[in-house]
């Protein structure tokens, strides 16, 4: 179990808290020490809307340890409307076929267990098709 690590990442996993660069106004997710757009020192907190579109996606069959019970699952590159791209699982897909360009929104779901079946549950962002109603 890695309790400090999961605690440290809470704001990003639960609320997509990133940064906006004070020098170039670039939006940054996840937070960094140096702005990837201009090289300035990044430090101003910026909450992302959680809205975006699918840039690419794949269906994972061979899951790594900790994810076996979820397989098969869809992982996507999601382009957030503010600019940055994040990697995330797609969820609540039902029968819906995934397509590049499809609008999606962030929801909070269980990512995996840390420390086996009796370990802690790790929650974080996944994305689902927009228009499915309340989270």
């Amino acid at each position: 179990m890695e309790i400090p690590r999961h605690w440290r990442l809470k704001k990003q996993r639960y609320a997509l808290i990133g940064e906006v660069c004070p020098y170039c106004d670039g939006k940054i997710f996840p937070p960094r020490d140096v702005c990837p757009h201009c090289g300035g020192e990044a430090r101003n907190v910026y909450p992302f809307s959680g809205k975006g579109t699918v840039y690419s996606y794949t269906v994972m069959q061979d899951a790594p340890a900790g994810y076996e019970s979820q397989a098969p699952y869809t992982v996507a590159l999601v382009k957030l409307e503010e600019g940055p791209v994040v990697t995330a699982q797609l969820t609540d897909l039902g029968e819906q076929a995934v397509e590049i360009g499809m609008p999606v929104e962030m929801v909070t779901r269980k990512l995996r267990e840390d420390g086996g079946a009796k370990g802690m549950l790790i929650y974080g962002y996944k994305f689902r098709p927009v228009g499915l109603g309340p989270h």
């Binding site: 794949t58 061979d62 899951a63 900790g66 994040v86």
Partner: protein, 385 residues
């Protein structure tokens, strides 16, 4: 002269070596390279390895592997760059010998992969990714490749089955490589019916991870033994370039920028253009990587790398042979050792020792290893002197 010569080469068959520990794999390749050089004694040993610290519970490989090879006392340590670890270790050996600080250096790539199974190995492979923001989603390297292939098909409209040409070529070439894991050609139907791994990527788009070890011994021309037995092969270009670790942080993930930059830099050092090489040992970790590497090196326009594979251009008798001894797909992919296997195979070609797979009049090779989806790219130019 300051030329760095690859004086000796050694390799063991790639596969599932359940009976052999990490240090035996390494020692066999190391001793083979020393013997092949005519008995040169290395002053340093640089080790390419990816996963020993997690899969074998073993770090500090410099002390371990020199000890078992009877080389205790020489400088030795590990170089890690995921799938490019072996090639990065070669870069370190090249710098050491070229600078004159070291007269002769042994570079060993070694990976002990098959002590574990399934999910543990998928998790180990994912070490090459950004842990917090990629691996945490359940994405593996095969998944990254699936993301790239999906986007590629979308942007360029390439036919999905065109990618079959890469594994078919790799398997055809491995038939004559006694060190290859799969020495059997495959038919297109086998590819078409293969199980999906990370859709659209299937089982035959993915090189199989395996155990293996390969080694090369570097020396300067003046340090070669009397009556040196082989045509001399020198390193004329050597370059490492990196990109963002996470695929999602790249403005254009299909560009393989690091591969492009390390190719340009290695060729510039050698005073050549990529088109001047006689063959290209690229990294077909996944079939999509082969297409993107051909494009990054400038052999094909963006979105057209797959086309080169359709008309025989990349086969042994073609304009630009690739994967001449089976590539990662059919030789097998012992991750941290793979880069040294590629170098050994290129040296066999340049010496004229490649047997039935000999590329005619091979004088100059481009050899490229990738760590992750070209997060690290290591490129070398080798030439017969």
């Amino acid at each position: 002269m300051g030329d760095v010569i690859i004086a000796g080469i050694g390799q063991i068959p790639v596969g599932e070596h359940w009976d052999l520990p990490l240090h035996t794999l390494s020692t066999r390749a190391a001793l083979a390279a020393i013997k092949d050089s005519g008995g040169l004694r290395p002053q340093a040993m640089y080790i390419g390895n990816f996963a020993a610290s997690i899969l074998s519970h073993q770090a500090n490989l410099g002390a371990l592997l020199t000890d078992h090879a009877g080389l205790t006392g020489i400088e030795a340590y590990t170089v890690e760059a995921a799938g490019a670890s072996g090639a990065a270790a070669l870069r370190v050996g090249y710098l050491a010998v070229r600078s004159g600080f070291v007269e002769s250096a042994l570079v060993v790539g070694v990976e002990k992969w098959t002590d574990r199974i399934g999910p543990d190995l998928e998790a180990a492979a994912a070490l090459a990714e950004d842990y917090d923001y990629e691996a945490m989603t359940g994405l593996t390297p095969a998944g990254q490749a699936g993301l790239l292939m999906q986007r590629y098909l979308h942007e360029y409209g390439a036919p999905r089955l065109a990618f079959a040409a890469f594994p078919l070529l790799a398997h055809a070439n491995a038939v004559n490589n006694p060190y290859a894991m799969y020495r059997k050609a495959i038919r297109p139907e086998v590819y078409e019916n293969a199980e999906p791994v990370s859709d659209p990527l299937n089982m035959f788009d993915s090189a199989p991870y395996a155990d293996g070890a390969a080694a090369v011994l570097l020396a300067r021309t003046s340090g070669l033994p009397e009556g040196y037995a082989h045509p001399r092969v020198r390193i004329s270009g050597s370059s490492v370039a990196v990109d963002t670790l996470a695929l999602h942080d790249r403005p254009d993930p299909l560009a393989f920028e690091a591969a492009a930059r390390s190719t340009q830099s290695a060729c510039r050092q050698a005073g050549i253009l990529p088109a001047d090489v006689d063959f290209f040992e690229l990294s077909d970790t996944f079939s999509i990587f082969a297409a993107l590497s051909l494009e990054a090196a400038g052999f094909a326009r963006r979105g057209e790398g797959w086309k080169l594979a359709q008309d025989g251009s990349l086969a042994l008798g073609g304009k630009l042979p690739i994967l001449t001894m089976g590539g990662h797909k059919a030789r097998g992919n012992p991750i941290g050792a793979a880069g040294v296997y590629q170098i050994v195979e290129a040296v066999l070609q340049l010496r004229g020792q490649a047997g039935a797979n000999q590329v005619k009049n091979a004088r100059r090779a481009l050899v490229q290893s990738l760590g992750g989806p070209a997060a690290t790219a290591v490129t070398h130019v080798l030439e017969r002197v």
